[in-house]
């Protein structure tokens, strides 16, 4: 019996544990296993194997009973998931159901979750821009949150590292506020986007319209073929899972790569309850997992633990990891864990028409769009609000059919597609300021169906966000007007925080253990063998879509962890 217990414990002991198999966890697992670490990758949801578990991926439009619209009963039962633009008949199976995963909204917060192997990497918008030094300088220069403990130069080689493997399309634009990366060939800007780019360049020195940088293989290299991935085929059905592996996901890329090393154990249906802290050793020794199939609580052990559960769930797990040494959550000596959470402000859009280029259109489909890097307050403070916004920008040539009448007249009209004018559209992506009053916390009494304390979420807009919405509308209107666009429409959609799916912070990095939770290597200050490299680690949000930065943090932190293990510091 004693031997059995030892054997059983040995069988549950690994070199490393990674919690969460989304974008950042997939990267942690890939880097660890490549460096010879026997790694356990825990995922709370079901397994999703690349291609095999993409049930809708090759369905034709007419094969969807409701032509992609979700039945009312499903929408009514899942108002949070259904608020996401990507929740439709072809992709709904990759969203967590509202009623199975309740939380408490102290303020309205639409927490969009993807609980399966691969997480939200199956559903993401695939925009991948690097941060610049201006972004890392933000909190210190503008006196909010705390100073970042690293700068662009610390992360730049790791951006290169992850970009080459993931496959990033983009153009080298040479813009200070948006450093260039390791790009595969860029997608086209279309006629009107190019025209707008030129007009803006003539008028403003510091404003640029560029093609988005996105995790699509536009020109497959050997490293992508080695992953079993091929050049993107422009289907623009990414949220179904891509049978070509044309875009980056954990499922298509990092997880199969890690499995191929022979060092990865992937364990789906494993809800992490907490990390185990050993007071004598002064470090975390493992994790407690609820097996969602058997309802059994099982412990797993490892030398190092990477927490990549997604920003808010990483907060939840660490806050729930209590011990006599850490009664308020693992590594939470200063009581700041769960606080200073922020997000991206996507509230405003500006659209218009253009009556030029009527002899031209586009051909094919593009899984990408134009992008306007941040131009406000970059070099110095110049407005009545802090920080700034990036923006998406796209133009398309509209087509339509006359739908007048009924009978043969209507049928004839439907057979003749006509060209309308060009439409342009833009949406803002604003930096929001992390504040102590923006927090997540554990409810002291209520539990979710998995026995975890329910998360209370209290995050909202502030006056800085309101000013930024106004400025974005004014500036885009001015830029559109100078380009000769007409019928300019500004719109505040009052999008609820969380719906941007860019929630960040709560376990922020910083120089000082008194005011931050993680050091410059993403280690908990007071529990050095625990690493957090997902959105929870973010000290500030900047304006860029964050996933690329989480990938780079993950790879960099693993590299450091291995060095520390070799130096016997962990």
């Amino acid at each position: 019996m004693a031997n059995f217990n030892i054997d059983s414990k040995n069988a549950r002991t690994y070199d490393a544990i990674v919690i969460g198999s989304g974008i950042s966890g997939g990267w942690s697992a890939k880097e660890l296993t490549e460096k010879g670490m026997k790694t356990l990758l825990l995922e709370r949801g079901r397994n999703v194997e690349h291609i095999k578990d993409y049930p809708t991926t090759n369905m034709m439009p007419w094969e969807f009973a409701h032509r992609e619209r979700m039945p009312k009963a499903v929408v009514d039962a899942n108002p949070i998931a259904a608020s996401c633009y990507n929740f439709k008949e072809s992709s709904a199976h990759f969203f967590a159901k509202d009623d199975e995963h309740p939380y408490i909204q102290e303020q309205p917060f639409q927490w969009i979750r993807g609980y399966q192997v691969g997480g939200k990497s199956l559903l993401w918008a695939r925009q991948t821009q690097r941060w610049s030094q201006f972004d890392f300088d933000g909190p210190a220069r503008d006196q909010f949150a705390v100073e970042w403990p690293i700068g662009y130069q610390d992360l730049a080689p790791w951006y290169s590292h992850v970009e080459k493997f993931a496959g990033i399309t983009g153009n080298k634009d040479g813009i200070d506020a948006l450093p260039d990366g390791e790009f595969l060939k860029p997608h086209d800007l279309n006629c009107v986007e190019k025209y707008f780019k030129e007009k803006v360049a003539q008028t403003y020195q510091d404003r640029h319209i560029i093609i988005g940088r996105a995790a699509h293989i536009t020109d497959a290299k050997q490293i992508h073929l080695d992953q079993g991935r091929a050049t993107c085929q422009h289907r623009t059905m990414c949220e179904r899972g891509c049978p070509f592996g044309g875009y980056f996901s954990s499922n298509a890329s990092t997880i199969p790569w890690a499995l191929k090393t022979g060092n990865l154990t992937l364990r789906p249906d494993s809800v992490v309850h907490s990390l185990i802290y050993d007071e004598k050793l002064g470090k975390a020794t493992g994790v407690r997992v609820l097996d969602s199939n058997t309802q059994e609580m099982i412990e797993f052990y490892a030398k190092i633990i990477f927490v990549n559960a997604s920003a808010l769930n990483t907060n939840l797990i660490l806050l729930n990891s209590t011990s006599s040494r850490f009664p308020n959550g693992l590594g939470n000596d200063n009581g700041l864990m769960g606080k200073y959470v922020a997000f991206h402000n996507y509230r405003a859009t500006v659209s218009a028409d253009y009556d030029g280029f009527l002899d031209s259109t586009t051909d094919g489909r593009r899984p990408n769009s134009g992008y306007i890097p941040r131009f406000r307050n970059v070099y110095k403070q110049e407005t009545d609000f802090l920080r700034g916004y990036a923006a998406g920008f796209g133009a398309n040539r509209s087509t339509y059919n006359d739908k007048n009448g009924m009978g043969e007249e209507l049928k004839e009209s439907l057979s003749k597609t006509k060209y309308g004018g060009w439409h342009v559209g833009s949406h803002m992506m604003g930096e929001t300021i992390p504040k102590e009053s923006s927090y997540v916390a554990l409810d002291p009494n209520k539990k979710d169906p998995f026995g975890m304390p329910m998360l209370r979420i209290n995050i909202g807009y502030d006056d800085n966000d309101e000013k930024m919405v106004k400025d974005y509308m004014e500036q885009m209107t001015e830029m559109y007007t100078k380009a000769g666009f007409t019928n300019i429409r500004t719109h505040d959609n009052h999008r609820v925080p969380g719906n941007d799916i860019h929630e960040m912070g709560g376990v922020r990095m910083g120089k000082d253990p008194k005011t931050s939770l993680l050091n410059k290597w993403n280690q908990l200050h007071s529990v050095k063998n625990v690493f957090v490299t997902d959105g929870a680690a973010m000290t500030s949000t900047s304006t860029q879509n964050p996933s690329l930065t989480y990938m780079a943090f993950s790879a960099r932190a693993v590299d450091h962890a291995i060095k520390e293990i070799k130096a016997k510091n962990l």
Partner: protein, 172 residues
């Protein structure tokens, strides 16, 4: 319909509740309406109306390619009870209007008379009828344009374009 009823009755007779086995999923389109919110008569009016809105010419009409079933399914699954009730009411009024104007069932009318009935709803002053006919027409167009027949044979949908060109001349 008879087969499904028979299965239900067999199950009831045996005193058990059974779910339909997988082989039973292959019901013909014509059988589907028994599970929708419309009764047989109204469903028939719907199928005829859909075909009248987009009729057979040298290519099939909306009725033949199953758009009636699509419209019924959409109204059942994607709209609230008020819209569903107004939709049933509208179909019943199509039938009633046919009988009062032409003394015939809607399905027995000539195409031009069918259109006259439908257009009278579109142009009339009854708000319920207007919103009913608007929904019926829009769903019919959606079902037709997104049908396998039209997307395959007429609009030549490309599942895998494998390209994007940002600026090409408009054709013809």
């Amino acid at each position: 319909m008879e087969r499904r009823t028979a299965i239900r009755q067999m199950a009831l007779a045996a005193g058990t509740i059974v779910s339909l086995p997988t082989w039973a999923k292959g019901w013909k389109k014509a059988d589907l309406h028994t599970t929708s919110f419309l009764n047989t008569e109204l469903y028939q009016v719907l199928e005829v109306a859909v075909e009248a809105i987009i009729p057979e010419t040298d290519t099939p009409g909306a009725g033949e390619i199953g758009v009636g079933a699509f419209v019924a399914l959409m109204v059942k699954d994607c709209y609230d009870t008020a819209v569903q009730n107004n939709f049933s009411k509208g179909l019943a009024e199509i039938e009633a209007s046919s009988k009062s104007r032409f003394n015939k069932s809607f399905s027995a009318l000539q195409q031009s008379d069918k259109l006259q009935v439908l257009k009278s709803f579109e142009k009339g002053s009854d708000k319920d009828q207007k919103s009913f006919i608007g929904l019926l027409k829009n769903l019919t167009i959606q079902g037709y344009m997104n049908s396998e027949y039209v997307m395959t044979n007429l609009t030549h949908y490309e599942m895998v374009p494998a390209r994007y060109h940002g600026c090409v001349p408009v054709k013809g």
